[in-house]
Amino acid sequence: MNNFLQARRAGLLMLALSMAVLPLLMVNSFHYDIAIMIGINAIVCVGLNLLIGYAGQVSLGHAGFFALGAYASTILTDSYGWPSIVAMLAGALLVGVLSFIVARPILRLKGHYLAMGTLGMGIIISIILNQEVDLTGGPDGMPVPSFVIFGWEPYGNQVWYWIVAIALFISVVVALNIVESPIGRALRSLHGSELAAGTMGVDTLRFKVLIFVVSAVMASLAGSLFAHYSGFLTPTEGDFFRSIEFVTMVVLGGMASTFGAVIGAAILTILPQILAAFHDYEMMMHGLVLMGIMIFMRKGLVPTISGWLRRKPS
């Protein structure tokens, strides 16, 4: 227990430090843009990691929640003139209610059936966003009004960097608290063996539902931030491939590792920028990288590397 608290404090300190030092290394607003996108993706991944890593439940539909939050913010501020913060919270509430409704039937599914259920849900959301042109602008998307917090309008990538950094830090703290709460311990028992947890009298479904809703709401809030930051929104943010991207970030960083989720988000956000140099071979490289990491580091980066470090007495 003490050990964990120490590790946790060290991890949070590392995160805060690297977020504070990062701006020294970034020389232009393109670098900031990448850092901000990493932060936004990481918020989704930290939530999704609770679901995949700790509760052991796959979701191939979380981009749907991300996009719902983004569109709720956009439509409510743009068409109805709501204040950004209120719109953002309304979006989160909507996603919370929706995910709560679908959670029970979906989470009763297992393995590939669960994957298919969440995939279907995500695709239905994506189809609606594409089809309701009058509301969402359809596939060509719609511009998003600026973010306004109590009359203050954040402008420029540096300001956005700090907003996203703080949001990410809060998400990580929330996630770590959930992991160490009684719920979290119940969750970890789930991943070990659901049957065993069930016989011990743990209401597994209730915990899974709770985590599903928490991760969906985190995705929704990240989506709202994304929409306001990028200033333009298209339904590709909610499609199947975006969902896969989120899941891959979590698995790549290392399941059941909150900091791993952040690192996974960072790597996969930077990857397309590196692969852009391959031009025609970009897609092939992308596929190879995904395969390679999943085959050779099947536990994900952070657990694999920390495993190596532990093995080698330094």
């Binding site: 232009n28 607003s29 393109f30 670098h31 843009d33 990448i34 996108m37 189809i127 594409n130 089809q131 042109v133 359809g138 596939p139 060509d140 998307g141 511009p143 990028s230 200033g231 333009f232 929104l233 298209t234 590709t236 943010e237 397309p272 920028q273 852009a276 031009h279 970009e282 897609m283």
Partner: protein
């Protein structure tokens, strides 16, 4: 060890000096950086692929002819697919990291609209290849475009229908941005041009059969013509299903079908389809007196010689965009962004592939209806309708 080190250092000195010198020389004639982001892969690759090939072809050509203002052109390209988010990130990279002098491209309306805020704020000239009218209307100071608007295309189609006495239309459209925008224009223009839409159907991404939708259109009351808003493989699938159902009404497509692939892919079912297209598609049928003939024929020849595949009109947007940019840089005598922007706006009587461009402070497209022609598929090839 030390001697080896010293030797190496000595050997390095001339190299370093040379590097410094070339850097100095390069400073005098640094390349002009043209940034572009296109949908080279993904569902909109039918646009981005010929666009990129065209840009590469003509950048090489211009460079082997000595470049522009004595400087070489350097094309900086990223594949943003059809994704707004990638477009935003890559345009930031073009502006802040690569420090390009001008941006051309953006294959789709969505990716273009997503970056407008950025280019306006960065004050860098931007020529889009996106279709929709909203890109330059309302006007944005730094944003230009080369393709005809889809509104113009629908107007063209409706006037042709009216000429034939057809007023009752069934519309079928796909799930893409291009499709939806075309459908919307078809709806809004129907009112002002005295047309009635009696059926409105759509199909999904990657659909392999649309006979249910066409059956409904076929059975719609009083229907006289069908308008298809879409592109790619769907164009051929619609044509084939149309033939399968033995439909006899007039058959119109949007300019999204304006490629030889459509006719070939339809296996004979494209016969009789009418669509609006850039004159490029029927370059050889233009009158010799038509000023566009030489430009379109030259582009076609160059493209087919290099890539050994038929041209599509989409590559033409890229040709015009590049040439308008290059001409503006020449006239400005520098790559000063404000000057180049002003010169693009002053583009006048530029004979391009898409048409003859005359831009102004109120018109950042500069094309009129004349450069858009109606064609019909006859005997497996395009026939210019006069």
């Amino acid at each position: 060890m030390t001697t080896l080190f010293a030797k190496n250092i000595k050997r390095l000195i001339p190299v370093i000096a040379a590097l410094g010198m070339t850097a100095g020389v390069a400073g005098a004639a640094e390349p002009i950086k043209i940034g572009t982001f296109l949908a080279v892969t993904g569902p909109a690759s039918f646009l981005g692929d010929p666009e990129l090939k065209t840009l590469q072809l003509y950048v090489d050509k211009i460079n082997s002819d000595g470049g522009v203002l004595g400087r070489k052109l350097e094309l900086v390209h990223y594949d943003a697919q059809h994704k707004a988010k990638s477009a935003i990130t890559f345009v930031k990279r073009l502006i802040n990291q690569d420090k390009v002098d001008i941006i051309i491209g953006g294959s789709t309306t969505g990716t273009t609209m997503a970056v407008i805020k950025l280019v306006e704020r960065a004050e860098i000239p931007f020529i889009s290849f996106g279709g929709a009218g909203v890109i330059t209307d309302p006007l944005k100071k730094w944003v230009f475009k080369t393709p005809h608007t889809d509104k113009l295309a629908v107007q063209k189609i409706y006037s042709d229908m009216k000429k034939r006495g057809l007023t009752k239309v069934g519309v079928i459209s796909g799930a893409g941005g291009f499709d939806k925008s075309c459908r919307k224009n078809a709806q809004t223009l129907a009112g002002t041009m005295g047309m009635t839409i009696v059926a409105d159907e759509s199909y999904g991404k990657g659909d392999t059969d649309v006979t249910p939708q066409l059956t409904k259109i076929k059975n719609a009351k009083g229907i006289q013509a069908m308008l298809f808003c879409g592109f790619g493989a769907s164009s051929s699938i619609v044509a084939k299903n149309f033939k399968q159902l033995g439909m006899k009404i007039a058959h119109y497509h949007s300019h999204g079908s304006a490629s030889a692939k459509f006719i070939k892919g339809s296996d004979g079912a494209a016969e009789g389809v009418r669509l609006p297209a850039a004159a490029l598609l029927v370059a050889e049928q233009l009158d010799d007196s038509n000023p566009q003939k030489a430009a379109t024929m030259a582009y076609r020849k160059a493209y087919m010689a290099k890539y050994n595949e038929p041209i599509s009109t989409f590559g033409g947007h890229a040709y015009d965009g590049l040439m308008i940019a290059v001409n503006a840089i020449k006239r400005a005598g520098s790559t000063d962004k404000a000057k180049v922007r002003d010169e693009i706006e002053k583009t006048s009587n530029f004979i391009g592939v898409d048409g003859i461009f005359t831009m102004s402070a109120t018109d950042h497209l500069g094309l009129d209806e004349k450069s858009f022609v109606m064609v019909e598929v006859k005997n497996g090839t395009w026939k210019l309708l006069k």
